[in-house]
Symmetry: C2
Subunit: 222 residues, 2 copies
Amino acid sequence: MTAESHARKRDAAATKAALLDAAEQLFAERGFDRTTVRDIASRAGANQALLFRYFGSKEALFEAVMTRGGFAQLEATPPEHLFAEALRSLLLDDSERRDRSLETYLRSTGTDGAGAALRDQLGEEYARALASLTDEPDAALRADLALAWLLGIGLVRAVTRKDPLASASPEDVARLTGPAVRTLLERSEQAEPGVRNATPAAAAPPGAPPAGPTPARSASGS
Amino acid sequence: MTAESHARKRDAAATKAALLDAAEQLFAERGFDRTTVRDIASRAGANQALLFRYFGSKEALFEAVMTRGGFAQLEATPPEHLFAEALRSLLLDDSERRDRSLETYLRSTGTDGAGAALRDQLGEEYARALASLTDEPDAALRADLALAWLLGIGLVRAVTRKDPLASASPEDVARLTGPAVRTLLERSEQAEPGVRNATPAAAAPPGAPPAGPTPARSASGS
DNA sequence: ATTATCTATAGATCTATAGATAATGC
DNA sequence: ATTATCTATAGATCTATAGATAATGC
């Protein structure tokens, strides 16, 4: 009944931007599948038909969202700070994040179409940056494992909200993950020198006797 | 037109079991949302209406799937082998896995209803077992981070299929993650003694100057 | 007059149910 | 006769489109 109950201000550019903003938030919060075009239009304060007028399809809108920000954080962060910075970003509150591409990545794991290619590209670029941090063999695999850890922390934190990780401070998480990530990226194939002090026999792979974790080539010489 | 084109063998118990098996597979492969009751019935070779007759609803079937196996791997594995064994299980081919609960967990992150409670319970029990491996402070948080790594590796491997991780051997993954997980669980709050040899300045958290990863207290003495 | 916005609805799913059909057990 | 199985469909979404309405610019 109010005068402006419909017919917003007639600014196509602003409406497009509002739809992109709303879609970016919702895709990050719920993933592609669980976000409906009506949710997006509603949060943008726009009519649902405009989404199709301006973007063509829900999938094209997803693509526009992923390309717009352009992996801002990845490009702005030097590789040696990328892990810690991405981690920090994942642990911030929803409102104060700038780049939500990693979140969108891990919430849209079922997406198959156009978004999948962009999602995969994002993964490739993060992994490439992380791989540049190590000269060890298996650099690419080590980088994938670091990326996997980032995504897993985001998963447990944002999706499952499991405590204590869900409410841990970014500093505590960084303090505990930092040394382990360095071990992952820097440790070469030798028996570890000064780490076997605390627990008796943690995490020995039981199904891998021929190619175990500390192979035959010993620490001294090749 | 064939004689047995419909009307299967009339064995309610077998049909229920077939529905449970098919649901277990599909929920693990696609998650709860992306699996339809018709998919499940089709793979089970059963009529779709029987799913509702025997389980009541799709959500109740999900609950039945999660409770049936009863976290078999978690219960059968001593904590010190849990990480490596769960990792190994995640890296096997789809067909040769026994316990797919972790996969279902990470693919059903959007599920809100009855399945969410079971999903969360699974996470709690894995984390508790992993936390028993360390006497360090923050044991529960360290365990959550280890669980997050498991889930992240499963995510990158099974969902995104990103190479080289997607095609890496379980042995290689265990060899690279083992030392890092030991660092995560065993390393106490001091500068690391013999690891800073390879890369110049990897993974320094830029936003945490007061409580950085290698704090003021140096390696020599307390 | 142009075109951004809105209404109404087609068409495709998907979960769930009601009631018909047909295979087994007494 | 009992009951496992199947057919048909209701009812609720969800994406997408066609065409009406109304706000701006010349």
